[in-house]
């Protein structure tokens, strides 16, 4: 990753002041509180990086949130809230966004937070030469103007109505310009932000952070240290909570909920999410090019039983292509379980005796269980399903190998989605529009409905909430009726915590939020 020359020159200027300010060192704070103030969270995977602009997994992003903040952010219900910005104004075209910034905020290394820092950060992410994994989030960015010390104007190349959700995305959290300059491509191992916690250490499976004494939000954080430990085995993670080695664990496997039901020291966390699952059908190939076949399979699945068997009851039924917590969600109704109707539709479509087809999916237990369930349900309407769980590399090479829809070999694909911006656009466009055909994005169903394409484009090209709502309502209605997927479920966030731990959350997209965590 090379840093563009202009960026480098600017960083030198701010860097000089940063070096003068001694990094804040945390000594032992003399305060001897009776309440424990050290939190350990057990998570399923290892972190990948602590540079949010280069992170694409919710775990790394959520961990970054301990130390770094953006102009906007999400609260625990994924509502957008201002963080380092106090407000914004947009022009009607949705091409210019002017942010006013919090005053008196400093990065952990002492560098002041100001419009220049915003410019350096956003332009760093947007610059293709930096090859950051989240570059595409800001590919619409033209440039950032420093209006004054505390006002930054972001100018976009094209209208982009979903820009504020994008700014709230954890990838756009801001790093200290001095640190960007100092660490270069090693920024991911040396995070310096404005957040409530300061980076301590990161070994392969453990991240440690400690409280920032100068955090700009008064009274926060409550914890002295936070440790994030990767514990891949479900049973071992639960054991850590039982022994008190951890105070928050996720995910809590739904099948093991019964084992903690009577333990007063442990509380189950059960919240709504925006993670949806379904089985995409290749709408361009027989037999799924007939909408009656796709609808028949939606009638053929008992969603209630699906949730009971696969998720031990911890999931919700879908009633729209969007989950309710996503912006501009509009309820559409349900595809009830009706075997007779499914058989009738199949017969009308010319498949009175069903047909044979294959479903691809990942090789984790939940997906395999889900696919086996579908296999059993489809059998009842005469559809013989071959289930192929695939190692992730094999899976993507199969799904994305086809350069165009004609060469695609996918018949059905069991998959999931969560819109990391919390916005309707990223919830629908990558899955159901023509521009999203693999290998570009994830429209594995190869749905190509001109009306849907137009709705989604319209929604993107305005910042007017009413116009956007109308566009996405129409898109949702059409997609729901057209059934490019067998609509399956909306996951729930199922975690477990020590009963005396408050204020620790996972957002509906699965990201961690620990700013307000405290023991009561």
């Amino acid at each position: 990753m090379s840093i563009n020359p202009e960026l480098r020159r600017r960083s030198v200027l701010t860097g000089a002041t940063a070096l003068a300010a001694a990094p804040a060192v945390i000594g032992a704070r003399a305060e001897a509180a009776a309440m424990p103030r050290d939190l350990t969270v057990a998570v399923p995977d290892n972190l990948v990086t602590l540079d949010p602009a280069d992170a694409n997994d919710t775990l790394s992003q959520g961990s970054c949130r301990l130390m770094l903040e953006g102009l906007y952010g999400f609260d625990e219900n994924m509502k957008i809230i201002p963080k380092l910005a106090t407000g914004y104004k947009a022009n009607a075209m949705a091409t210019e966004f002017t942010f006013t910034l919090h005053q008196g905020v400093k990065f952990h290394d002492g560098t002041p937070f100001n419009a220049e820092a915003v410019k350096i950060n956003l332009e760093r992410i947007a610059n293709p030469a930096n090859h950051l994994k989240r570059q595409s989030l800001l590919s619409v960015l033209d440039h950032v103007e420093v209006v004054n010390e505390h006002t930054a104007k972001v100018v976009l190349k094209t209208p982009f109505g979903a820009f504020i959700p994008t700014v709230a995305h954890p990838a756009l959290a801001l790093s200290s310009p001095a640190a960007i300059k100092k660490y270069g491509k090693d920024l991911g191992r040396n995070p310096v932000g404005t957040g409530p916690f300061i980076f301590t250490s990161w070994t392969p499976d453990t991240l440690k952070v400690h409280a920032s004494p100068h955090y700009w939000v008064k009274g926060l954080p409550h914890m002295r240290t936070v440790t994030i430990r990767s514990v891949p085995e479900n049973g071992s993670r639960l054991a850590m909570l039982q022994t008190g080695e951890a105070q928050y664990i996720f995910p809590m496997p739904p099948e093991l909920v019964a084992t903690i039901a009577h333990n007063p020291k442990i509380t189950l966390v059960n919240r709504q999410s925006i993670i949806i699952h379904g089985a995409a059908m290749n709408t361009m190939k027989k037999p799924f090019n007939d909408v009656r076949v796709r609808q028949a399979l939606n009638y053929a699945v008992d969603k209630e039983a699906f949730i009971k068997i696969v998720y031990n009851g911890y999931a919700d039924q879908m009633d729209s292509p969007e989950p309710p917590l996503l912006s501009f969600y509009k309820k559409q109704g349900a595809w009830p379980y009706d075997v007779a109707k499914a058989k009738k539709l199949l017969a009308e479509a010319g498949y009175p005796n069903g047909f044979e087809t294959e479903m691809w999916g990942a090789n984790n237990t939940l997906v395999i269980r889900g696919m086996q369930f579908l296999q059993q349900q489809f059998a009842a309407v005469g559809v013989k399903l071959k289930v192929s769980p695939l190692e992730v590399g094999l899976l993507i090479s199969k799904v994305y190998a086809a350069p165009n829809p004609q060469e695609a070999t996918v018949q059905m694909n069991y998959g999931g989605w969560s819109s990391s911006t919390g916005d309707a656009d990223w919830g629908l466009r990558p899955l159901f529009t023509k521009e999203a055909f693999p290998p570009k994005m994830f429209n594995v169903a190869y749905l190509d409905d001109p009306a849907v394409n137009k709705d989604i484009a319209d929604g993107l090209h305005t910042a007017d909430p009413k116009a956007r709502a109308a566009a996405y309502a129409d898109a949702q209605k059409r997609i729901w009726q057209d059934c490019p997927w067998v609509w399956l479920d909306i996951d729930r966030i199922v975690d477990a915590r020590a009963s005396n731990l408050q204020g620790a959350y996972r957002l509906p997209d699965g990201g961690l939020l620990l700013n307000d965590a405290h023991f009561a």
Binding site: P128, T243, S397, K398, Y400
Partner: protein, 306 residues
């Protein structure tokens, strides 16, 4: 023997070069696009391209090979595609936990395995023999995730004696080392017994016994040394396997070792890390088996190494 040793040692270099070429080719023949896997599940084609360029995977294959060989020969092994860290650091961080655990597991399983094997070999057919057989077969057919989780439930959750996982102090070694060493101990016990029964019937042992030497001397001085060859072979192989990192044990006891690194690097097709791991594991096996070959000659001087 020194000459043999040096020749074999010198011989490992072409072997490892061949392995590195093989590893380079093999990982690239595997289906799965590292750029897309590393870019993540909701990356656009644009993001994927950016990652591809950053990793140099858009370059012609021969250029990639030259770059790879240059870094291999210098023993720097390149940087991880996924984390951007030097591969040497990445592997170094994980090697010691795996190595320490392997040594502990190996030591106890050799002592217990060989001891149990000798006991059942000497008293063939009695309850020790039958009992150790059942224990041994359980040791190898009992899935380690099951045993691991049962141990955690008992020793950590119920009794509170041991930590559930991680590599912190000696306490955190107890359960993983036990679980890891059990199949190895089982194999050692079975082989020691078999070899022992075999050798105990040899003429010279009978002769020694008929000369009136005490049973203990006969067993240790005569029978044992010759029984060692298959046992040594197996011990070497077991140690080699352990050093490769045990995926299940590391998962159950959240041990930051090479096994989990391997799984991660494979699922992201992190070529530099996979290549380095293959190279490391091959080196381990080549060296261990060289050592075992030398030990053959020590144990049985009739074996001539050429």
């Amino acid at each position: 023997m020194l000459g043999y040793f040096l020749r074999r040692l010198g011989g490992t270099i072409p072997v490892l070069l061949a392995v590195s070429l093989f590893a380079f080719g093999f990982v690239r023949l595997l289906p799965g696009d590292p750029a897309r896997l590393i870019a993540g599940p909701d990356a656009t084609l644009q993001d994927v391209q950016a990652v591809r360029e950053r990793l140099g995977l858009d370059q012609p294959l021969w250029q990639q090979y030259v770059r790879y060989m240059a870094s291999t020969v210098r023993l720097s092994l390149g940087t991880s595609a996924r984390s951007g860290q030097p591969v040497l650091t990445e592997i170094g961080e994980r090697f010691m936990p795996t190595f320490n655990l392997s040594v502990v597991a190996m030591v106890w399983s050799c002592i217990v395995g060989v001891g149990l094997g000798v006991l059942s070999g000497v008293k063939r057919g009695n309850w020790i023999d039958q009992g150790s057989m059942v224990v041994a077969v359980s040791g190898i057919s009992f899935p380690s995730f099951w045993l691991g989780l049962l141990l955690i439930d008992l020793c950590s959750v119920r009794l509170g004696w041991l930590p559930t996982g991680g590599d912190h102090d000696w306490k955190s070694y107890v359960m993983p080392a036990f679980t890891l060493g059990l199949p190895a101990a089982a194999v050692m016990a079975r082989f020691t017994r078999s070899a022992f029964v075999e050798v105990a019937q040899e003429d010279y042992v009978r002769t020694a016994r008929s000369k009136g030497l005490p049973e203990r001397v006969v067993i240790w001085r005569h029978a044992f040394r010759n029984a060692l060859i298959p046992v040594l072979t197996l011990a070497g192989l077991q140690f080699g396997f352990l050093l490769g990192g045990a995926i299940v044990i590391e998962t159950v006891f959240s041990w930051p070792g090479l096994g989990r690194l391997l799984v991660e690097s494979v699922s992201y097709r992190d070529y530099p890390v996979i290549q380095a791991e293959i190279l490391l594991f091959s080196t381990e096996f080549v060296l261990i088996n060289l050592l075992i070959d030398l030990l053959y000659a020590v144990v049985n001087p009739e074996i001539r190494l050429r």
